[in-house]
C-alpha cells in the first residue's frame, strides 16, 4: 500500500506492507536516529512526534502515519544539539543510544509543561529508559537546560 506523510517538514511517499511498523519505515527513509531497544513498548528509544505528540514508533503501524506529520530527531537537530550540549556538559550522553528518544521527549515536555517540578519531569520521562547514567546526570542536564532562559 502507498502512504503520504509530512516527514520532518517535507512530503514523503512510501510503499509499505500493511504490517510495517512506523519505526522500520522511518529507518528505511534514512531517519537512523530512531532506535529499537525492545519489542514491548518499554524503553522509549523509538520516540518520535506524530502531529507534535510523542509517540512510540515501534507500536504504531506505518499506515497510521498516512496524512500525518511525523517529526524525528533529524527534524529538530538544532534544538537537539542545544539540549545535547547540556547533556554532554554533565557527561550524561554516555553511550548515546537512548539519547534520541530522550531528547524528543524532553523537547516535547518543554513545549507542553511550563516550569515543571522535578517530580513532574521524572514522571513525564519515566518511559525513557537509560542503562548508563542512573538518570542523575540526565536530570541535572534537563534542569539546567530548562533554567537556561531564566539565567540568560
Amino acid at each position: 500500500m502507498n502512504i503520504e506523510m509530512t516527514l520532518n517538514g517535507k512530503l514523503a511517499k512510501a510503499e509499505i506492507e500493511p504490517g510495517t511498523l512506523l519505526l522500520d519505515l522511518l529507518r528505511s527513509l534514512g531517519c537512523y536516529s530512531v532506535k529499537r531497544g525492545c519489542e514491548t513498548s518499554n524503553c522509549g528509544l523509538c520516540t518520535v512526534w506524530m502531529d507534535g505528540v510523542p509517540t512510540l514508533s515501534c507500536s504504531v503501524l506505518a499506515a497510521r502515519a498516512d496524512g500525518h506529520e511525523i517529526t524525528t530527531l533529524e527534524g529538530v537537530r538544532e534544538e537537539a544539539e542545544a539540549f545535547g550540549a547540556f547533556l554532554a556538559a554533565e557527561g550524561a550522553d554516555q553511550c548515546g543510544f537512548c539519547s534520541p528518544g530522550l531528547i524528543m521527549n524532553v523537547l516535547a515536555m518543554e513545549r507542553e509543561l511550563e516550569s515543571p517540578a522535578m517530580d513532574e519531569i521524572r514522571e513525564y520521562l519515566a518511559g525513557n529508559l537509560c542503562r548508563c547514567t542512573g538518570y542523575a546526570g540526565q536530570m541535572r542536564a534537563i534542569e539546567k537546560y530548562l533554567n537556561r532562559k531564566k539565567e540568560a
Partner: protein
C-alpha cells in the same frame, strides 16, 4: 612561558557528543550495508536435547532465502566466545552449531535471507526431530550429576582451573592463608550465612549486533558492537576454522556494553554466513534473544563464615562460592575468583582466610561478564554478613567497618599479596556518613504514619586491569600542521575513553585537546589492546598513552634539532615548538609536521604497550536510605550516597556519571531485576515487560562524591571506576531493610514479598 591549559582533571565534554545527541548514524545497524542478508537462528525449545534429524529443505526453498545451515555445516573444533587473553581460562566448549542442545534458546540452525519476513517464515519451516534429554536446571545438583552437559571428548580446558567436563565442572579450586578452622573455633562470634545472586542481564540499550562483508582482498570484515575487537578476531577465526589473517574487526560507536559485549555473542553468525555465501550479512539480536541467549551475570550462591572476637575485631573468614556458568563456560573460571579476591581484602584485621569454589555447568543460558565480574556477588555476601555480624554484636555497622577496614599501606593477603598503595576507603566512609546523616538516622526512625525509615551501608573494591595479563596499546602519529592521531585498541563503549585518553595525551604533549584526533578500534590499524574490560582502560591504556607521548616528544625533539642543525640535547619542546635551550633558534611543531612529509627517513610515529604487575583496587562506600511500609513491606529508595576513591579522576564528570550509572544498575539488581525459570528451564523474564529495569522514578536521589587518592603505578595517579560502582547497592539496601524490619533478605532482588514472608515466618 605562559601556563597552558591542562586537561587531566577537567570535565570536558566527550569528543563524539554532537553525533550522539543529533542522532547521526554511527552505530552498527545504522552503517550496515543496505543489501545485507538478514541472519537469524532457530532457537531450541528444550533445555537439553539431541538433534536426531533436521530437515531444512522447505526453509531453504522459501522465496528470498539465501542459505540454511545446521551443525553438519560447521567445524567440529571447539572454541570459546569469552573475550580473554589467549590461552583463555574459559574452556573450549562451543561450536557455531552443535548437535546437542544445552539450554532453552540454544542455536539449532542459522537462516539467512533477503528480508526479515522471509527469514522469520523460513525459521518456522525447519523440521527438527529432537531426542529430549533430562536437564540439569538446579545448579546445586550439577556437580557430579549423572547427566552431563558436556560429555564430548572434543571439550578442552586450556588452563589449569580445576575443570572436568565429566563432573559438570567448569572450574574448582581452594586457597587458604592461616588456620581458618581453629581461629573460627576460638571466635566469640561466628556468622554463617548463604547469599544468592541471580543471573542479571546487563540490558545495555543497544542489543548484540554485528555485520560482516568480504573486502576487495577476500578478507572477512566484521563490524561489531564489541568491547573486545582483537579477541573477536581470534574467536571468529577459531569459530570458522580459518586463518586469523583473513579476519578484520572494526568497532563503531557502541550503545553500551557493561561486560555483555566482552563475549562474542552475535559475531560468529553473520561471519559464518558471509564466509559461506560471500555476501554481506547482519545479525541484530532482538531484546527477547538478548534476554534468553546472551551472557548475563553468573548466578552465585556464596556461603560466608565470618568470625569476630568479643569486641568485634574480625579474625577469620571462610568463603565458599558455587557459581552457575550455565550451558557454556564463558568467564566461568575467572568470575568466581573475584567473589573472594575482591571481597575479603576489604578487611585487614582478618588473620586467616579460606576461599574455595566450584563453577558448574547446567542446562541454563550461558553466563558471561557483567560489570563487577563476580566481585559484585562476593561483596553482596560478605558485606551482608558484616551487617549481620553488626546486628549480632548490637553494633553500628559503620563502626564495625571502621574497626576492621583496609587502610593505605596495608598488605592484602587475599588480594595476591598486593599492598594498598592508594586507599581512601576511610575518607570515603567518613564523607558518606556526613552526606547521608548516618549518626542521626541509624538504624531507623518510625515516621508515625505506618512507615519506617532506615539506613544501610556497604563497602566495595575492584581492580584496575588484570595484572600480568592485560596488554594496552597506544600509537601516536604527528601529521601535517602538527596535529596528532591517537590510535587506541581499547573500545569506547560510551564510557568516553576516546576523550579521556586524549586528555592524557594532550597533557603529556602540551597541546590542545582539539589537536588530538582519536581513532577507535580497527584490528588492521590499531595497536594491540586486550580490550575494554576488567576496569583497565583509564589505568592501563592511559599508561600506554603516557609512554607513547613521552616517546613522541623525544622523536619531535630529535627531528626539530635536526632541522635546526643541533642535537637533541641542545633543544627542548614546549608543545608548540622545539627550541634551542641556549639561544633563539626554534622551529614550530607545525613546520616539523609539514617538513617530515618531504625527504624524510624517520617516521614521527610511535607505538607503546603497557602491562601492569599489579591491579590497584579502587574503593567505594555506599549508603542507602529507604522508607518501608510496615503493613505491606513495600519500600522506596529515598536516598543513595556513593563516595568513590578511583585515584585521580581524569574527567570528574565522566567519573561521576559512571558512578551514578553503576549505582543505578546496582539498585536495579538489588530491588527489581529478577531471573526465574520454568520447571523446563525457560526464562520468564524474557522482555523489558518482565525484567524490570529501574526507571527514573525508582532510583531515588543518587548522590556521588569523589575522594581522590594517588596511585603511584597509574597515569597521573589514576586507578579505575568502571566496575566498583555496581557493588554496594545490594548489600547496602538489604542492610537498610534489615535495619527497618529486623530480617535480612539473602536472595536478590530484595522484594516486599520476600520481606513480608520472612517477617511472617520470624513471628511464628
Amino acid at each position: 612561558m605562559e601556563k597552558k591549559e591542562t586537561f587531566v582533571g577537567s570535565s570536558v565534554s566527550k569528543k563524539d557528543y554532537r553525533a550522539l545527541v543529533t542522532g547521526k548514524p554511527v552505530y552498527t545497524d545504522d552503517i550496515a550495508p543496505r543489501d545485507c542478508l538478514v541472519v537469524k537462528v532457530l532457537r531450541c525449545p528444550h533445555a537439553h536435547a539431541w538433534i536426531e534429524e533436521i530437515d531444512t529443505s522447505k526453509a531453504a526453498a522459501y522465496p528470498g532465502i539465501e542459505a540454511v545451515f545446521t551443525w553438519e555445516d560447521c567445524s567440529q573444533k571447539r572454541f570459546t566466545l569469552a573475550g580473554q587473553t589467549y590461552p583463555e581460562p574459559s574452556p573450549y566448549d562451543r561450536l557455531v552449531l552443535d548437535r546437542r542442545m544445552r539450554f532453552v534458546g540454544d542455536a539449532a540452525a542459522i537462516v539467512a535471507g533477503a528480508t526479515e519476513e522471509a527469514v522469520d517464515r523460513a525459521l518456522k519451516l525447519i523440521k527438527i526431530k529432537y531426542q529430549v534429554l533430562e536437564p540439569v536446571l538446579d545448579f546445586r545438583t550439577a556437580k557430579d550429576n549423572p547427566v552431563l552437559i558436556h560429555p564430548e571428548d572434543s571439550w578442552q580446558s586450556l588452563c589449569t582451573v580445576g575443570a572436568d567436563n565429566k563432573r559438570n565442572l567448569c572450574a574448582a579450586g581452594e586457597e587458604a592463608h592461616g588456620d581458618v578452622d581453629s581461629i573460627l573455633a576460638s571466635c566469640d562470634h561466628v556468622i554463617e550465612r548463604t547469599y544468592h545472586c541471580k543471573a542479571n542481564q546487563q540490558a545495555m540499550m543497544e542489543t548484540f549486533r554485528t555485520y560482516a562483508e568480504l573486502d576487495a582482498y577476500g578478507r572477512l570484515v566484521v563490524t561489531s558492537s564489541t568491547q573486545i575487537p582483537f579477541h573477536v578476531r581470534r574467536i571468529v577465526a577459531n569459530a570458522l576454522d580459518i586463518p586469523k589473517s583473513k579476519v578484520r574487526v572494526i568497532k563503531p560507536r557502541i550503545g553500551g556494553g557493561f561486560g555483555a559485549k566482552q563475549t562474542a555473542v552475535s559475531e560468529m553468525y553473520p561471519a559464518f554466513v558471509t564466509w559461506k555465501t560471500g555476501k554481506p550479512s547482519k545479525m541484530i539480536f532482538s531484546r527477547y534473544e538478548s534476554q534468553i541467549a546472551s551472557s548475563p551475570r553468573h548466578e552465585m550462591e556464596v556461603t560466608v563464615r565470618l568470625g569476630a572476637d568479643k569486641n568485634g575485631v574480625f579474625q577469620a573468614v571462610d568463603l565458599y562460592t558455587l557459581s552457575n556458568t550455565g550451558a557454556f563456560g564463558e568467564h566461568g573460571p575467572t568470575t568466581v575468583g573475584l567473589s573472594g579476591h575482591k571481597s575479603i581484602p576489604l578487611y585487614s584485621t582478618i588473620k586467616a582466610f579460606r576461599f574455595h569454589y566450584d563453577v558448574v555447568y547446567t542446562n541454563t543460558m550461558s553466563a558471561g561478564a557483567y560489570r563487577g565480574y563476580g566481585a559484585t556477588q562476593g561483596i553482596f555476601a560478605l558485606e551482608s554478613a558484616v551487617n549481620e555480624m553488626a546486628m549480632e554484636l548490637h553494633m553500628d555497622p559503620v563502626k564495625l567497618r571502621e574497626m576492621n577496614m583496609v587502610h593505605e599501606g596495608d598488605v592484602m593477603p587475599a588480594y595476591y599479596g598486593e599492598t594498598a598503595n592508594s586507599c581512601a576507603l576511610d575518607r570515603c566512609m567518613k564523607r558518606a556518613k556526613e552526606m547521608i546523616g548516618w549518626d542521626e538516622k541509624w538504624p531507623c526512625k518510625d515516621m508515625g504514619n505506618g512507615k519506617v525509615r532506615a539506613v544501610g551501608v556497604a563497602m566495595a573494591m575492584q581492580g584496575s586491569s588484570i595484572s600480568k595479563v592485560d596488554v594496552a596499546g597506544a600509537t601516536l602519529k604527528l601529521n601535517d600542521d602538527g596535529f596528532y592521531s591517537l590510535m587506541i585498541g581499547a573500545s569506547d563503549m560510551g564510557t568516553g575513553c576516546d576523550t579521556t585518553l586524549a586528555q592524557v595525551a594532550a597533557d603529556c604533549l602540551g597541546c590542545d585537546l582539539d589537536n588530538i584526533v582519536t581513532h577507535g578500534v580497527d584490528t588492521d590499524v590499531s595497536p594491540y589492546d586486550s580490550g575494554s574490560y576488567a576496569s583497565s582502560t583509564a589505568y592501563l591504556t592511559g599508561m600506554a598513552v603516557v609512554k607513547a607521548s613521552q616517546s613522541m616528544v623525544e622523536k619531535i625533539k630529535e627531528k626539530g634539532a635536526e632541522y635546526l642543525g643541533l642535537t637533541a640535547d641542545d633543544v627542548d619542546f614546549d608543545g608548540d615548538r622545539v627550541y634551542c635551550v641556549d639561544g633563539d633558534a626554534f622551529i614550530s611543531l607545525k613546520d616539523i609536521g609539514n617538513q617530515v612529509m618531504c625527504n624524510n627517513g624517520k617516521a614521527l610515529e610511535v607505538t607503546e604497550s603497557h602491562s601492569s604487575p599489579v591491579s590497584p583496587p579502587p574503593f567505594m562506600v555506599g549508603m542507602a536510605e529507604i522508607e518501608l511500609d510496615k503493613e505491606t513491606c513495600a519500600f522506596e529508595l529515598v536516598d543513595y550516597v556513593g563516595v568513590i576513591d578511583c585515584g585521580t579522576p581524569i574527567n570528574p564528570n565522566l567519573v561521576r556519571v559512571q558512578t551514578e550509572g553503576g549505582l543505578g544498575q546496582g539498585i536495579g539488581m538489588a530491588m527489581f531485576e529478577d531471573v526465574t525459570r520454568s520447571e523446563r528451564g525457560r526464562v520468564y523474564e524474557n522482555s523489558f515487560m518482565q525484567y524490570k529495569l529501574p526507571t527514573r522514578m525508582d532510583t531515588g536521589n543518587i548522590r556521588v562524591e569523589i575522594e581522590s587518592s594517588y596511585e603511584p603505578t597509574g597515569p597521573f595517579g589514576v586507578k579505575s571506576v568502571g566496575e566498583v560502582v555496581i557493588n554496594t547497592p545490594s548489600p547496602a539496601i538489604a542492610g537498610a531493610v534489615a535495619a527497618a524490619t529486623g530480617v535480612q533478605i539473602r536472595e536478590l532482588p530484595v522484594t516486599p514479598e520476600k520481606i513480608f514472608r520472612e517477617l511472617a515466618s520470624s513471628i511464628k
